[in-house]
């Protein structure tokens, strides 16, 4: 068992809850009749060809309601098909809901064309002029395709994010950016001006637009408005609508506009529900059912009931909107998909065993993936990929996790396990993290020392949260590209010539040092253990850190103490993953203070680029530093239609995938997943029922 002691684990609570509700039998869902399901999905007791008793039948079953699942579902529904979406979580949106809503497409997509023409949006929300010159956004799909398969471009760490991209997949991706952008706009998604290009969305043109809503008196997706309360109140509260506070978009849209992934997710969700798509939440696919294990058509899925319960009240968490929901509570059911199953179940970043395939040292179970509280313990657990592997699916792009620094990094946030983002109270999953976390600017690291599980420093603290852009518009040295903006030359050998690489190389080894073995790492796992920022009252006075609730909480991720000795003891006895005492902490602090007195840090070279400060003024503080595995690269191998391929390269009939459940592409984020869903949703309509 990886955790030190069971504690108040959410996992345990959920398991209990499931067994408590085992009494629910078929009869309990008798109210969910075929009529009640409308034309979207129908309960059935038809016997499957393989002897499985199917509990539900639909045309298209979408596994996962995130950035690939929702577009797939809507597009299939637009073609008149019955669509059922299942999701392991209690609400719709997956990781997309907590995202920034930044979508890099391109190839001459409608928003690029709009900005090139100097036009605004149809609703007239956009008040700012285009942010780029027309030539910076002018391109076609061929140009985009070359950009995202460019063998020559490296990032500052010397990795090639475009070189290993699957060609067929990316040809289809480039060809469908136009359609996807238009599709999103047709489904209540509003886009800002084009502003640069999002991570690994290609170097040569500006392609990113960001989703927004307008602040208004009521939250009305059709009208494009959101209340301040639903958008979140800066520094105070999130909402069920938006787990992360929506940020000011005045520079990219105009006054009273706010942006992030809630604008994208809630727009798509609203449209999906309006169009009659059915949602079965709290329902996790555990198996894909194929005619024979390694041959024949995919017929449907087996799925289990995975409700989540509020830690304090025990109440089941419910979705924000519920029209179209099927409240199915049986422990295990089988769902027949007559035309196709789309696996959009997300990545593997929260599965330590799976991610160990890529980076064995990052097996520490204390470290989670982004959106940990939002998605719960079953989010991003590689379940869709594993289910595909069990029926003979091939994998792709397994090396690409190492090609981009977002895959795993140290986020600039302390005192929360869910360190990737800064959720505030107000969202139903806040009680799982209980602290928003202390958000850090890069200069703030001068006020702390970072130690490993035995209390020893491991790297120059000023480098902990440093990250470097990927090769994107507008290029230049910070992006790893020798030429700037329009001067950039695609597929040019000079882009990766050793003389250039030597100039631009800038590695990110702080994370590697953070997950390295230390004196507390024990066989057989050699876990690196938790990491701690150690600081004092002087830190608070100098840099005005807000360590009050909700930024910190008594949740085992933040401690204060009168002495360093007490601090070490508190961490050891109260943090769920602290397996060994911080035996060196007192000596580490003494040594650090001596370095400050001496004006130099012979251990890790601090003091040259920022002041050093003693840690000597009580009370003393410890805040958890939690590396995060954010992106997932490497997953099911798909072709240009989104069909999952087997080991012979043949499409598995009836099985589609996209987004982070699929591999073969090193493009970050929403741009990749949304287009995958759009492509598959279209391709599925060509399947014969």
């Amino acid at each position: 068992m990886a955790r030190k002691r069971s504690g108040k684990s959410e996992d345990r609570k959920e398991t209990k809850a499931v067994s408590r509700r085992n009494f629910l039998t078929h009869g309990a869902v008798a109210g969910v009749s075929a009529a009640a399901l409308g034309s979207s999905a129908a309960e059935t007791s038809a016997q499957g060809a393989d002897g499985i008793k199917w509990d539900y039948e639909t045309d298209v079953l979408v596994v996962g309601s995130g950035a690939s699942g929702l577009p797939c579902a809507i597009r299939a529904r637009d073609a008149g098909l019955r669509v059922l979406v299942i999701d392991q979580n209690f609400d719709v949106g997956g990781k997309m809901l907590h995202s920034g809503g930044q979508i890099a497409l391109g190839g001459g997509d409608p928003v690029q064309l709009r900005d090139i023409a100097g036009q605004g949006d149809k609703e007239g929300f956009i008040k700012v002029a285009p942010l780029h010159k027309p030539q910076d956004m002018t391109e076609d799909p061929d140009f985009l395709f070359r950009d995202i398969t460019d063998w020559s471009v490296l990032n500052v760490g010397g990795h090639a994010p475009y070189r290993y991209n699957e060609r067929e997949m990316h040809r289809a991706w480039a060809d469908n950016c136009y359609g996807t952008r238009q599709f999103l706009m047709d489904n209540y998604v509003r886009f800002s001006r084009i502003t640069g290009t999002h991570s690994t969305g290609g170097v040569s043109r500006a392609r990113r637009a960001i989703t927004f809503l307008m602040l208004g008196d009521k939250t009305d997706i059709k009208a494009g408005t959101v209340t301040q309360r639903d958008a979140g109140i800066d520094g105070k509260s999130s909402s069920h609508f938006a787990p992360r506070i929506m940020a000011d978009a005045s520079k990219i849209v105009g006054p009273k506009a706010v942006w992030n992934g809630a604008a994208l997710t809630r727009g798509l969700e609203f449209s999906a529900r309006e169009k009659g798509i059915r949602f079965m939440l709290n329902r996790r696919m555990t198996e894909l059912v194929r005619e024979q294990q390694f041959s024949g058509r995919v017929l449907g899925v087996k799925a289990s009931y995975t409700p989540r319960f509020e830690p304090d009240t025990g109440a089941r968490l419910e979705s924000l909107w519920n029209n179209g929901n099927i409240d199915e509570r049986r422990a295990t059911i089988h769902i027949r998909a007559k035309m196709a199953v789309f696996v959009g179940s997300g990545g593997h970043g929260a599965n330590p065993q799976f991610r160990s395939m890529f980076y064995p040292a990052f097996n520490e179970p204390a470290f989670v993936s982004s959106a940990w509280a939002l998605l719960g313990p079953l989010g991003q657990d590689a379940s869709g990929i594993i289910a595909g592997m069990r029926i003979g699916a091939n994998l792709a792009g397994m090396q690409q996790n190492l090609g981009i620094t977002q895959s795993f990094h140290i986020p600039p946030r302390l005192a929360t396990r869910d360190a990737y983002t800064d959720m505030h109270p107000g969202h139903p999953t806040f009680p799982f993290r209980r602290s928003t976390g202390i958000s850090m600017g890069t200069s703030s690291y001068e006020h702390l020392i970072a130690v490993n599980q035995v209390g020893k420093r491991f790297y120059n603290e000023m480098d902990l949260a440093k990250r470097y852009d990927s090769p994107v518009w507008p290029g230049g040295p910070r992006n790893g590209v020798p030429k700037h903006s329009l001067e950039q030359v695609q597929c040019d050998w000079r882009n990766c010539h050793p003389s250039w690489v030597k100039q631009m190389y800038n590695s990110y080894p702080a994370l590697d040092a953070a997950v390295a073995m230390n004196e507390g790492s024990q066989a057989p796992h050699y876990y690196s253990g938790p990491l701690w920022a150690i600081f004092d009252k002087g830190t608070i006075e100098r840099d005005a850190w807000n360590i009050n609730p909700p930024f910190t909480a008594d949740n085992g991720y933040f401690f204060s103490a009168d002495t360093i000795e007490e601090l070490a003891r508190k961490i050891y006895t109260r943090h769920e993953f602290q397996r060994v005492p911080l035996a060196h902490l007192k000596e580490t602090v003494r040594k650090w203070n001596a370095f400050v007195d001496g004006g130099a840090d012979p251990d890790f070279g601090r003091g040259k680029d920022a002041p050093m400060h003693k840690i000597d003024k009580p009370p003393f503080y410890a805040a958890a530093i939690c590396p995060v595995w954010h992106d997932s690269y490497g997953g099911l191998r798909i072709n240009g239609k989104g069909q999952v391929l087997d080991m012979e390269g043949a499409a598995i009939p009836g099985l589609y995938s996209g987004g982070e459940a699929s591999g073969g592409g090193n493009q970050h984020g929403l741009g990749r997943a949304l287009v995958h869903g759009y492509i598959a949703g279209g391709a599925i309509t060509q399947e014969r029922a």
């Binding site: 100098r542 009168d562 007490e566 006895t573 005492p581 003091g607 002041p611 009370p619």
Partner: protein
């Protein structure tokens, strides 16, 4: 997974021929911590494996005089396994090794109670340690000048140390000053007593290692001390004035840190810091909250004024963070 080290002391002794059925049970005790401050809490937990069903069972904890201190019920914790909840006891206020005896008392289905097993519970009572800490000590102290610093003392058991005398000893062994801890607790702490000390720096330059200590109050409290190194410098002969500004807005940056090792200061509301330094070569490091730190090298031969223009950190929006 292994239990944490402080929970790993497992001890058991089986009493001979305790049971009519010849059954020998192992009563296992975990003690946390094994070394405990006098009077502080000690946590015991017992478990036992037994294939038989009991009507009732408990653990009786007895001191060296066989007086029962507490009795705790056992509950089923698994197949054939029973355990107590955590039992929290106050450690005796006598320093040294202590051995309690824990006896498993079982009432079987027939209703008769028997002592089925016993084990020793060993732990060591330590005197409370005094943990000392020094802060606000100037990073450079001109020779012969008066200077201030603060000393805090924490009794590991949180005892009241208000009014207790401290000794402040110079590097040459002489007493620097007499001072006592105040009655108040340092803000933000649970039981840290403190004293602000003002005294005179040595006349000669160089590092001087001092010691601040507290004597043992009684047999329950150990003595404690902390050393501090004074960097005694020549009297400063120049004033360096540094103005910290936002490069873009040209507005002053308040509370920016300025370090010219070993001298350090913070800027005032006008973004200005003045450091009294000796002549020489320095690197000036300036950092402000949400600004990228800047470094410049200077030679100080006379009074000097300089500006440090800092670049603001990129705004949080549209940074990579919001992916």
């Amino acid at each position: 997974m292994r239990p944490p080290e402080h929970l790993s002391s497992e001890r058991f002794v089986s009493l001979p021929a305790l049971s009519e059925s010849e059954m020998k049970l192992d009563l296992i005790c975990t003690v946390s911590p094994e070394e405990v401050d006098s009077g502080a809490d000690i946590t015991l937990k017992f478990c036992v494996t037994c294939p038989r069903e009991w009507r009732e069972s408990s653990v009786s904890i007895r001191n060296h005089e066989e007086a029962e201190l507490v009795r705790a019920g056992l509950r089923k914790s698994g197949d054939e396994a029973y355990e107590t909840d955590d039992i929290v006891l106050a450690a005796p206020r006598i320093v040294g090794e202590h051995v309690y005896r824990a006896v498993l008392v079982v009432t079987d289905k027939g209703g008769s109670a028997q002592e089925q097993a016993a084990t020793d519970v060993r732990f060591v009572v330590k005197p409370h340690a005094a943990l000392l800490n020094v802060w606000d000590l100037p990073s450079a102290i001109p020779a012969g000048e008066r200077f201030k610093f603060t000393v805090g003392v924490k009794c590991t058991a949180g005892c009241d140390l208000g009014g207790q005398p401290l000794h402040v000893v110079r590097g040459d062994g002489s007493q620097a000053c007499a001072v006592s801890l105040g009655r108040a607790i340092w803000p933000g702490t649970e039981a840290l007593y403190f004293a602000e000390i003002e005294t005179e720096a040595p006349a000669s330059t160089g590092d001087d290692r001092w010691e601040v200590g507290i004597a043992a109050l009684d047999c329950e409290h150990a003595a404690g001390s902390v050393s501090l190194t004074l960097r005694v410098v020549s009297p400063p002969d120049c004033v360096v004035t540094i103005e910290a500004l936002d490069r873009e807005t040209q507005k002053p940056i308040e509370n920016a840190r300025v370090v010219m090792h070993p001298y350090r200061a913070a800027t005032d509301a006008n973004g200005v810091a003045r450091l009294r330094v000796t002549k020489g070569e320095y690197d000036i490091l300036v950092s402000g909250s949400k600004y990228i730190p800047a470094t410049t090298s200077v030679t100080v031969a006379a009074d000097l004024a300089t500006r440090a223009e800092l670049d603001a950190e990129p705004p949080a929006d549209l940074q990579d963070e919001a992916w």
